[in-house]
């Protein structure tokens, strides 16, 4: 398990060496970057395959809380594996489409993947902040590299709120350090309940602002449409499927382990029902996201708002905090990642080849090249959660956990179902338009081998997860048990075991 650090160190090493290799062998350096991403996916798979339970790995030989530690458990393993695959596919698409010729683009995507891995594995609150900042800075630059005229607007529209949120995150860190005297997440988790309640609530809010912002939750998601529209499609795909997944993961970690002390049920800090607040925010996000998506004509913005709606649903699931809701939330996140990746890459290719970014202009595209229509259809079905496709099982488990909640559960269930209907409506509107016969003649869209490889793999994953969720269930079902424990969660136990070992 020591080798988990390679997931962060190797992309950093390759990124640092790229100015050098870029000068010496300009063609090879991009291929090296791609191979590094392939290594990431394989290595993350290897780590996940070997995970038996929560393990803490030290860095620098210093035990936590003095040094920084990485924690590997089923949850971080699964999320890291999915994120690495998402980044690999998106960058492969970008490289094969020949859009970005600059080596810096690949350098920054390596930094992005390294920082996402850091966000996922780190066991230290301040280190998490550092990785969020690396992810942010690479993301702003990658958005600004977009060719359309909105790219710098999108990048600044993301940078400013994210920087404000990270200032508040640091305020939270300062207050935690002055009250509890440590920055280690596991140690904070075991003593967080002793903090005065109003202070605890303030700390929770200041830390969560940054996380919810990256998680695209209302009211912190004003950056989403602009950034998604301005960025190259592969980067939008990484945001929607990678960054949102990683920050959802952090939300789950902080919410369930730290603020709730590893107990099940609604998250609460002291006397404040944080879980209910998050539940409310989640519900509002679902409504706002789906309505905004319905009103959008720009396809990338529509997909962005659909992500917002989905993330709202996941937040609702996480805030409930029962075994089945956490399982459902993670399943929904993962399935959304794959389905949205397919949608963004297909839409990105169509926009690139036809130069038309609004769905109303897409009339007849699927008549000439029907496979693209089929891909969009499968992606949409995966997101909406029709049975036989991956999204179904996540939504099914979430609804299963909301219906038992009484009155607010009834509201949540109704909303999630209504949201699915709205989602169904605008996605079928999109696909329907593509299959309509248009008046204008549309050029035939052609794709290269790389795109067909990526998309067929994604379709296979979406359908396979829909038909037989059992293939990943075995690992996913262990996650809630590791998060929610009787006295301490498995995560905290793993770190504390190491702490006790050090005192001999």
């Amino acid at each position: 398990m020591n080798q988990v650090i390679l997931l962060i160190a190797i992309p950093l090493l390759v990124a640092f060496s790229m100015p050098l290799t870029g000068k010496l062998f300009p063609r090879v350096s991009k291929v090296i970057a791609l191979l590094t991403l392939l290594f990431e996916a394989i290595w993350a798979g290897f780590i996940l395959f070997n995970t038996k339970g929560a393990v803490s790995v030290v860095i620098g030989g210093w035990l936590p809380p003095f040094g920084i530690n990485l924690v590997v458990d089923h949850l971080s393993g699964v999320v890291a594996f999915v994120v690495s695959i998402v980044v690999l596919f998106s960058i492969f698409f970008q490289l094969s489409s020949g859009l970005s010729k600059k080596p810096n683009f690949y350098m920054l995507s390596l930094l992005l993947v390294a920082s996402l891995m850091g966000i996922i594995f780190t066991g230290d609150l301040f280190n998490l902040f550092v990785f969020f900042e690396i992810a942010g800075i690479s993301a702003y630059s990658l958005i600004a590299s977009g060719k359309n005229s909105n790219s710098s607007n999108g990048a600044l529209g993301y940078l400013i709120p994210a920087s404000v949120a990270s200032v508040f995150y640091l305020v939270g860190i300062a207050l935690i350090y002055s009250t509890l005297g440590t920055l280690n997440i596991a140690q904070i988790a075991s003593s967080f309940s002793s903090v005065k309640p109003i202070l605890a609530t303030f700390i929770a809010f200041s830390l969560l602002t940054l996380v919810l912002l990256e998680f695209e939750i209302v009211p912190f998601n004003s950056w989403v449409p602009r950034a998604y529209q301005g960025a190259p499609s592969s980067i939008s795909a990484i945001f929607s499927s990678g960054l949102a997944l990683a920050s959802g993961y952090v939300m789950l970690r902080l919410g369930v382990i730290v603020f709730n002390g590893g107990q099940g049920g609604f998250i609460r800090t002291g006397s404040f029902e944080l879980g209910h607040a998050l539940f409310g925010i989640g519900v509002i996000t679902v409504i706002a996201g789906e309505i905004a998506a319905l009103a959008q004509k720009d396809v990338k913005k529509m997909l962005a708002f659909s992500s917002v709606g989905q993330m709202g649903m996941v937040l609702v699931a996480f805030s409930i905090g029962t075994h089945s809701s956490i399982y459902g939330g993670i399943f929904a996140l993962i399935s959304h990642s794959f389905a949205k990746l397919l949608l963004f890459l297909t839409a990105g290719l169509i926009i690139m080849k036809t130069g038309k970014s609004k769905y109303t202009q897409w009339t007849g595209i699927a008549r000439c090249s029907p496979l693209f229509g089929v891909l969009m259809l499968i992606g949409s079905l995966g997101v909406i959660g029709i049975p036989l496709f991956s999204g179904f099982w996540g939504k099914f488990a979430i609804i299963g956990s909301t219906v038992v909640l009484g009155k607010i559960g009834f509201i949540a269930t109704t909303l999630i179902l209504a949201a699915s209907v709205v989602e169904g409506f605008y996605f079928f509107r999109l696909v329907h338009t593509m299959f309509e016969t248009g008046e204008e003649k549309v050029p035939k869209v052609k794709a290269n081998f790389a795109f067909w490889l990526i998309s067929s793999l994604l379709v296979a994953v979406i359908v396979a997860l829909g038909l037989r969720p059992g293939i990943i269930d075995g690992r996913l079902k262990k996650i809630p048990g590791e998060l929610i424990g009787n006295a301490e969660s498995g995560y905290v136990q793993a770190v504390n075991k190491q702490l006790k070992g050090s005192k001999k």
């Binding site: 710098s152 600044l156 940078l159 860190i173 300062a174 350090y177």
Partner: protein
């Protein structure tokens, strides 16, 4: 008044002042400056968490007994604030470069004008 409380007050005042600037600012350069004020505030706050009255810097220049530890200042917040300053610098440099690009694309460094014109195009 306790000095720690005063320092906290100063830090939070800077943060809130900067936040007001970010919320109301239209000129992007001003918004970035306001962000800088917020960062300064939070750095003050971070360093205050290691503050002790009459402490000496945590540098070992003469021998001391570990059981009766001299009144050293807490080294960790100072390390954190170093990281935070560097990150703040990075954000400022990047956002200034982004503003240059923004100006090239839109011909202005005001935020609202662009959003309005975008709506007209759609």
């Amino acid at each position: 008044m306790n000095l720690t409380v005063l320092l906290y007050f100063g830090g939070f005042s800077l943060i809130l002042t900067g936040f007001y600037g970010v919320l109301t600012g239209k000129n992007l350069i001003r918004v970035i400056l306001a962000l800088g004020i917020m960062e300064a505030g939070v750095n003050l706050l971070l360093v205050t968490t290691g503050f002790k009255p009459k402490a000496i810097p945590p540098i070992i220049v003469k021998s001391f007994k570990t059981l009766s530890l001299p009144n050293f200042a807490d080294p960790l917040p100072q390390a954190l604030v170093l990281t935070s300053i560097v990150i703040g610098f990075g954000i400022t440099a990047l956002s200034l470069a982004l503003i240059v690009k923004y100006n090239e694309e839109n011909g202005t460094i005001k935020m609202d004008e662009v959003e309005n014109s975008e709506e007209v195009v759609e």
